[in-house]
Symmetry: none
Subunit: 217 residues, 2 copies
DNA sequence: TGCAGCTCGGGCAAATTTCCCAAGCCGGAT
DNA sequence: ATCCGGCTTGGGAAATTTGCCCGAGCTGCA
């Protein structure tokens, strides 16, 4: 930690947009204590860059939520549990946030945050603290958080089956007929799945199912 | 034009993310000939800022594409036909690109472009030329070769925008707020889109949007 | 034995969806 | 000029679904 104080905080920037990366780099470098020691433009390269530079903080800016970003987090954390990862994205869905923290992220800030909030989050994460922007805290607070794992782990077999069929495009009646259940039961499952996963929309449910490999599109 | 050569190119930055704006500003300013004279964080403010500063180029970085962005373009162009607008977004769907040019944009570059390509695009646009990044040209080329009527061809601009947001996971209220429509109108669009496309389920709608490249999962 | 969690469904108010309709606007055809 | 058709915007009302509460029958497990 003393070396951090002496040399500042080294940062690995992961973002798939070059100019966005360059912009962030300049913003961070202008802070004085933050130094971007490496960049990566995709989740796959992120771990290699992490290994090579051992940064204090990884700033992961994933415009496309879901598997690739979460995968990168898990990848890095699995092999370097000390890694500090700050997710930085424009998305603010509870599902995503919870998945990110579950995957091992140390912080989560949205792009709507003030630049000062972002750099402060980086400093917090570097100190080993958890950090999140106000809007994220609000989203999580709304969402009566349950200590969950990989989203699908919270679901029972029946729930998963119904989610699969639903995401595949089946109507409630079709699912009920297919599984020999009453429509009411399927509706209840539908609701239950949404509340368990934190999805507030059918569309979010489909995306969730897709990123979990439950259905392909 | 000679004044452009003498004083450089003045730029109005429009983006809803503060830190992104700050990043771009630094990147552009570092070029020497590009000067960010104003910023706006939403489509509504864009025209006011344009009027107040009369920039050579407007760089519109809309994370949420569609009506609000297209609207801003039309707004500015309607009252200042000389305006040069460069759309700068992470989206690369042919529908969006064509709509943007139809609305009066002078250029379209994606965030996957190299920073040098972006600043060159700004310079081209300032000279009154049309500009687009390589990937956009590629997308448009592909699109022009496919006479296949995509499902999207049946949909109007508003419908496409609402479909995109819906498939992205937004609720009806969020879409209504975002586009400044009544919830009722969004509901009607929702229904209309379903009947036009033949989708009987929200999930089918999401899959449709995904296969049309309207949203990625 | 008893608790916990899954599965299955009823009930009911609140919300949404489903259609149908109308009006304004604009572009193109007559 | 005029009309037609399509887009956009929303109201209305019936039908359906959702949100959330509930109980009951299973199972496994402590």
């Amino acid at each position: 930690m003393s070396e951090v104080a002496a040399t500042g905080i080294s940062v690995l920037l992961v973002d798939d947009h070059p100019i966005v990366r360059q912009g962030y780099r300049r913003v961070l470098e202008s802070q004085g204590d933050l130094h971007v020691v490496a960049e990566a433009d995709n989740a796959a390269d992120a771990y290699g860059a992490f290994k090579a530079h051992d940064p204090d903080v990884v700033v992961l800016d994933i415009s496309m939520p879901g598997a690739s970003g979460l995968e990168a987090i898990r990848n890095i954390r699995a092999r370097s549990p000390r890694a500090r990862i700050l997710v930085f994205t424009m998305h603010n869905e509870a599902v995503l946030v919870k998945s990110a923290f579950a995957a091992g992220a140390s912080g989560f800030v949205t792009k709507s945050s003030e630049p000062s909030a972002v750099v402060n989050a980086i400093r917090s994460v570097a100190r080993g603290e958890r950090a999140m922007s106000d809007d994220i805290a609000h989203v999580l607070a709304e969402d009566s958080l349950s200590p969950t794992g990989s989203v699908l782990d919270q679901l029972g077999e029946r729930e998963i089956e119904i989610l699969r069929q639903f995401a595949g495009g089946a109507t409630t009646e079709e699912i009920a007929a297919q599984l020999n259940l009453s429509v009411k039961t399927v509706q209840n499952y539908h609701y239950l799945i949404k509340s368990k996963t934190g999805a507030r929309t059918d569309a979010q449910l489909v995306r969730l199912a897709a990123t979990c490999g439950l259905t392909r599109i």
